[in-house]
Structure formats: C-alpha cells, structure tokens
C-alpha cells in the first residue's frame, strides 16, 4: 500500500478523527445527562439499573473509540469509569455521593482531554483524577465469577461463553481506494462487533507513515467466517494465550457490543437509538454544498425573472404569461426545497442546554450558592451551524448569571427570596427568528456603577443618556469588566465582547433587561437561517451594495441643504433629535455624488443611532449570502457578497463594521 498519497492519507485520518469527535460528543451528552440523573437518585432507594447500563455502555464505547484514535488518556479515564460502573451494576458497591462526584470529575476531565486533542493543545494531566477513580474500583476487584452473573442477569441463559471463545488479532490498513469502496475502519469495527467483542483497539503508525488498526477480538466464530468478509487489507491470526491477561479485564465479555441472539432482548438504550439504522449522520459540509447549489438555483431563477421582464414587450402576451406562471411556480418550489434542506440541518437546542446543567451545578457548588436551573423550549430546533457557535456565548452568560447575578442563600433570605436562585434557559421561535433567553432572579446589574466605570474610563460622557442599549454596549466594549479583579469565571474563556461579536456575526441581536434585586435577562435573537436574507440594495458612486434589512431601522431621503456641518461631522435633524451621518462614498473611497437628494438608512437607536448615506436605495430583495473566504479580500465593513442575477458580485455591508470604521 505504499502508493498511498500522503496528503490523501492525512485527509483520511482527519476524517476519521472528525467521526471520533462527533461520536464522543454524542456519548458525552448521554453521560452528562445520566450522571445528573444518577445524582438525583442518590437519596432514593435503589438505583435504576437501566441508567447504570446506559452509562456503562457509553463509557465502554468511549473507551473503544478513544483507543482507535490513540487517545490513551481518554481511553484510560473511560476504562476506569467503566470498571466502577460495572461494580455498581453488579451491586458490589453501593452508590455514594462521593462516587457520583468522582464520576463527574472523571467525565469533566474526559471532556477536557478530548477537547485538548481536538484543539491541538497539550493534553491535561489526568493522574489525580485517575487515582481518585482507582480508589473506588479497588474496593472490590473484578472477579471472573461476575461474568457469569452478568450473563444470567441480562440474558436469562447460562452460556459458558469463555470456554468456547477464542481471541483473535486483526490488523486493518485503511486506504483511500478501500474507503471509496465503502471499506473503512468503522465498517471493519462493526463487522467485528457482529461476531464477538472487541477487547482492545489500537492505531499503529507504520514505517511509511501509514496507519493501521489492531483489534483484539474475543469470539466463538472461526476463521471460516472471517474469510467470507472479503474486506481488503484485513489480516487476522489467533492471539497467543499470554496476551489474554492484558490490562483490560476480560470480564467485560457481556457488553452490549456483543450481538448474540440472546442479547437482543436488552432494553433499547439511547446508545442503540443513536446508532439506529434510520438515522444518517451527515457531514455539515455536504449540507452546505446543497445549500450553495440551492443558492445558485435561486440566482438562476432571478436571472430568468429578469430576462422575462425584458422579453415582455417582444412576446405574445399569452406565451409570456405562461412562462411567467412557470417561473413563479419554480420560485415556490425552490422556496420549499430550501426549507427542506434547512430542516435537515436543524438540531434541538436542548443538547446545549443540557450541558449547562453540568456547568451550573459545578459553579453553584464552587461559589456556595444554590441554583435551580429551569429549561424550557429545549425541543426548539436550531441550525447546527448556529448551535456550535452559540455554545461559548451561552456558557459565558450562564457563568455570569451564577457568579454575578445570583446571590448567596443568606443574601437572598435577607431579600425575602427563596434561598435557591432561579436560572432559566428558554428557547422559542418567532417568525424568522430564534429567541434564546438566559434569565436569573438575582441582584440585577448595578447600572450606576457600570455607568460610573464607563465615565471614568472615558467611554461615555457623564451626562449621556444611559438606557439598556447603552448599558449593553458598555458591557460588551472590549476589555470592560464590572469587576476590578477578574474572578475565575469571567477571567477565563470569553468575555461579553465576544458574546456580542458572536451574536452579531451570526446576523443576530443581543438585548438585555435588568431590574435591581429582581434579576437580569439576556435575549439572543438569531436568524432561523443564514444563507438567504432580505436586503436593501443601494448604489454608491456607481457601485451596488446590499444591506441586511434586519439591521436597518428606517430609510430617509435627505436634501443636501438640510445637512449641517459640526466640526468634522455632518448631522441632520431626525425625530426631534440629531442624527450623525456617515458617507459610505468617503469611507470606501468611491466617487461622491455632488448634488440632489440622497438616501440615508438609519441603524441603531437612541444615542446609538447613526445614518449611513448612500446615493440611492434602488430596491429590496431576497439575496443569497456568500462568504468572502480569502483573507486578501476580508476587509472591515464588508460581511459577505451576493449576486443579483447578472453575474456581478455585490458586496454585503457589515453595518456594525461600518460604524466602527466611521468611529475609528
């Protein structure tokens, strides 16, 4: 296999890693949910067996897939947690709050290890957590007897499995050619799982930089079975006896990954649901491709519409009308097609809400506060792309709410509030938007102090009107923190400025309301879709620009005579107040229009209102938003590009960027 192109090989392995991250994410989500349920069960008599089974299965899978990508730390952590869960399953040790605690610590570390690998950072040290985990396992070492017990309990039949099964060593070397035929590591792995149990899987790097995978499998099947598989590049041999006493206990024989007929009666687990045949895991990039193709179709149809308009006078009316009807029908169908693809991209937001439970629990414990987390609208569907980008901002807002918003139980009692603070996460759709709200019933933001700090830092004038929009702007100013000393929560990760940036980059809005001693609520409003937007089309110096409709409050026509010049600034009167003007022609160094009325579109409100002057607004239409990917043409003030049916690129304004350019 030395003809493998090293570049393709790297891509191949990267793809394989992506699958690993996706699968480990799914299992970590299950584990987090399971552990919180387990914690709630602590004071109840009897731990539900199905819960332990599911956790066990998730850790078992995490161990296996981590081994396949050679992430030893993740493999070890999962292995130890799996072993402890096995003891709990067998009832050999009782469930204790310390035990749940150590499982949570282990899972948190596991997440960090996987995230570190994903971000190419150094893997955190796991020794301390491992030692804690080991302390729980050594209470009662695994004994061979327990295997039979397990078989009896889950399957109802006693089968002397170990007597008949043999261990085999399989080596599979993937290649691009094989992968194109559909033979890849995952396929090999699932084939092996069909006949037995994978005790160990390890990636090996060979001399020419090729990667192969070694699987040690316990199975009752013989070589005659493997022979029929015809999976290229798969070799196997019986394993020598001494390897049996590997560090991985063979007592794991009766796991859900064995698929003997008698095991089919296992309760359907969440894990099984994730892997069920009716669900396809699709690479987001492929959906993006589809979206792009639909975008092209939308562009072609606008071209058709344009041509139809031009042909109107030169065609018999009946013919023209029929064509026009067909074109309209196509527009509707395209709309439906787009909706269909968008639906495929949607995931439930509950997944990230669930993660917050974990965060809230840890933070509350560290800060000796009590927090009750209420989640609603978790079934609200949101674009997968948005979910990934909303994770950090949400995390920050939740941390802020717990560390700065919610008071200590004593403080709360003094205010006649219940000792436990309420943090609510909710999501809902409203028209073309998704609304995500993070609200607490804590002390509220000290508006006077924020204003004082902002005035002291010269960010605003002392007499400036300070409404909630201005407050938010100050909080989101880069580097502004209401705490003199950044504490642990706000000092790491992202700040409010990053939250605001993430939201605006996604075409959304962030707003805030706060009441002293009643709490603070942040509202994130995101567009349901990203690819297509309503826009105003403006001309400046002969060049067209698209302005996202959502950013524009109003369009006004201005007579040059009404513009007043104040030092270097131009202003016009607007709604009993004044509106500063920014001329796009000057900002972008385009030819300036000399005389006659011009159009101004207003962005922001109150103190933040700004008028952006263009030559004319020439229309309003649906545009396909295309990214500008190359750094050579990523410039401030431009968010992307579109095309309006004549093959000419039209730039899309980044309204926030234009404001920053103007203020710079």
């Amino acid at each position: 296999m030395s003809q493998i192109d090293p570049e393709n090989h790297r891509d191949f392995f990267a793809q394989f890693l992506d699958d690993y991250y996706a699968e480990s994410d799914e299992h970590l989500t299950l584990v987090r949910r399971g552990l919180l349920l387990l914690e709630n069960q602590l004071n109840e008599p009897g731990v539900p067996r199905t819960l332990l089974d599911e956790l066990f299965r998730s850790f078992h899978t995490l161990k296996g897939i981590s081994g396949m990508v050679g992430l030893v730390e993740a493999e070890q952590l999962s292995h130890h947690m799996e072993s402890y869960l096995r003891l709990l399953q067998l009832g050999e040790v009782p469930l204790s709050s310390e035990g749940v605690e150590v499982l949570i610590a282990g899972t948190t570390m596991l997440e960090k290890v996987i995230a570190a690998r994903r971000n190419d950072e150094s893997i955190p040290r796991i020794n301390e957590v491992l030692t804690r985990l080991e302390a729980f396992e050594t209470a009662s070492p695994l004994v061979e007897r327990s295997v039979d017990d397990q078989v009896v309990q889950t399957a109802g039949t006693v089968e002397a499995k170990d007597d008949q099964s043999r261990q085999w060593r399989f080596v599979f070397t993937p290649s691009v050619a094989l992968s194109e035929e559909g033979t890849n590591v995952n396929k090999v792995r699932s084939r092996l799982l069909e006949v037995g149990e994978i005790l160990r899987s390890t990636p090996m790097v060979e001399k020419q930089g090729e990667i192969s995978f070694e699987f040690v499998v316990a199975t009752t099947a013989g070589a005659s079975i493997f022979d029929t598989w015809a999976l290229g590049n798969l070799s196997y041999a019986p394993l020598a006896e001494e390897v049996r006493t590997s560090e991985y206990p063979t007592a794991l024989a009766a796991t859900p990954e064995t698929t003997e007929p008698s095991k089919a009666s296992l309760p359907a687990s969440a894990t099984a649901m994730l892997a069920s045949a009716g669900v396809v895991r699709v690479d987001l990039e492929r959906l993006d491709d589809l979206m792009r193709m639909i975008g092209d179709l939308v562009s072609s149809r606008s071209r058709l519409e344009e041509n139809l308009k031009n042909a109107r006078l030169r065609m018999p009316t009946d013919d023209w009308r029929r064509l026009q009807e067909t074109s309209s029908a196509m527009a509707r169908q395209l709309h439906n097609l787009r909706e269909g693809v968008i639906r495929v991209r949607l995931v439930q937001i509950g997944e990230i809400f669930e993660r917050m439970r974990f965060v809230v629990r840890d933070l509350a414990r560290e800060s000796s506060k009590q927090v009750r987390l209420e989640i609603s609208g978790e079934e609200t569907e949101i674009d997968k792309f948005l979910v990934e980008r909303m994770m950090d901002p949400l995390l920050h807002l939740v941390r802020n709410a717990v560390s700065h918003g919610v008071e200590t139980p004593d403080e709360r009692r003094a205010q006649n509030k219940p000792p436990a603070g309420l943090l609510s996460l909710s999501a809902r759709t409203s028209g073309e938007s998704i609304l995500i709200e993070i609200a607490d019933d804590g002390r509220g933001i000290d508006v006077d102090r924020v204003k004082g700090d902002a005035v002291a830092k010269g960010l605003i004038a002392a007499h400036a009107l300070f409404d909630s929009e201005a407050l938010l702007e100050i909080l989101c100013a880069p580097g502004f923190s209401t705490r003199l000393k950044a504490d642990r929560e706000s000092g790491r990760g992202v700040g409010m400025d990053v939250v605001a940036k993430a939201v605006t980059e996604l075409g959304g809005r962030l707003s805030l309301s706060t009441t002293p001693n009643q709490g603070t609520s942040f509202l994130i409003e995101l567009p349901l879709t990203l690819a297509i937007a309503e826009a105003l089309i403006a001309t400046v110096g002969g060049q067209r620009f698209a302005i996202p409709q959502s950013a524009v409050r109003e369009v006004i026509e201005v007579q040059p005579a009404t513009v007043k010049v104040l030092e270097n600034n131009e202003i016009i009167s607007y709604r009993d107040s004044v509106l500063p003007l920014v001329r796009l022609a000057r900002l972008f160094d385009l030819g300036e229009k000399r005389d006659g009325p011009f159009h101004v579109f207003v962005i922001g409100s109150g103190q933040n209102a700004l008028g952006i002057a263009v030559d004319r607004i020439v229309g309003q239409r649906e545009i396909v938003v295309r990214g500008i990917g190359d750094p050579l043409v990523q410039v401030p003030g431009i968010a992307g590009a579109t095309e309006l049916g004549d093959e000419q690129v039209v730039l899309i304004l980044d309204v926030g960027g234009v404001r920053r350019l103007a203020e710079a």
Partner: protein, 159 residues
C-alpha cells in the same frame, strides 16, 4: 538540451506579463477567463482589483502587474483572469495574456539567480530556458501570501 520524458515533465500554462513569460503548473489552474465584472473591494491592498464570481465562489482578483511592481495598464481583449487553486485558497490572477501550454521537463527548471532575487525574484520558484526562451516559474505560495507585498506602495494596508 534535456529530453523531456513522460515521467519527469509536467504541463505548464504560460502567462505574459510586461514582456516576460511566467509559467504556472497547470494542475493549479482551475480555469482561464476574459476579464469582466470585477467588483472593487474598499480598502483592500492595491494589487487586489476586487472580487469576481468563479464557479459560484467569490474570489479575489489580484493584478499581477501591480503585485510585481509593474505599471498598471487597462484591461483589453487579451487580458486574462487565471483562476488558481492552491491548497484551500482559490484566487484569480490578472495577467496581460495567457494562451500557451507547454510540457516542461522538471530537470530544466533551475533555481533563480541571486541577481533577480530582489524585485520579483521572491515570487519565483525557478527559471527554465526552452529553445532560447526564458520562462520564470512562479512560486504560487509566495504570490498569494499576504505578508509579501514588498513591491506594493500600499504595503501594510491589510491588517
């Protein structure tokens, strides 16, 4: 003269720029087009004429004359946009013309002499002489690199 054989030669596309012939490996060239409908991008580097639509993708159009420190001339019917794909980036290069296609023996490419390292030498991978004709082989990595705008008067415009 070295004989070029199947195995050690590679097809190149020849570009003309200010009277000089440059060569680009044709495997990097996605397509060649007439110059039309460039949208200028505010505050971009001087060599960036703007953006164009190529196969549904919005890509930068770089004026190679300006990039290499030559005088800017108006586009005409011979001007070409050569769309190259190098790694993950796709970029259009505007050249005076591009019409020829040759197989170049890799052995015929020699490193650029020190004497031309200064000006556009940085953008060169090597020089080949075929039948007395000099072909400068472009180093595309350098040509599209942001930090190497040594010849542009607006160097440093891009943050």
């Amino acid at each position: 003269m070295l004989e070029s054989t199947e195995t050690n030669s590679e097809p190149f596309i020849l570009l003309e720029l200010a009277g000089t012939t440059y060569g680009v490996r044709s495997r990097f060239v996605q397509q060649m087009e007439m110059i039309e409908k460039i949208t200028s991008v505010p505050n971009a580097a001087p060599s960036v004429e703007g953006v164009v639509l190529a196969r549904g993708q919005v890509i930068p159009a770089v004026n190679l004359r300006v990039r290499f420190g030559f005088e800017r001339i108006p586009f005409d019917l011979r001007s070409r946009l050569v769309v190259i794909k190098n790694g993950k980036r796709t970029i259009g290069l505007i050249v005076d013309t591009a019409r020829e296609f040759i197989n170049l023996s890799l052995g015929a490419i020699e490193p650029p002499p020190d004497a031309i390292r200064g000006l556009s030498g940085k953008y060169l991978e090597g020089i080949a002489t075929i039948d007395g004709r000099i072909i400068l082989v472009l180093n595309l990595d350098e040509v599209i690199e942001l930090d190497t705008q040594i010849n542009e008067d607006g160097a440093g415009v891009i943050a």
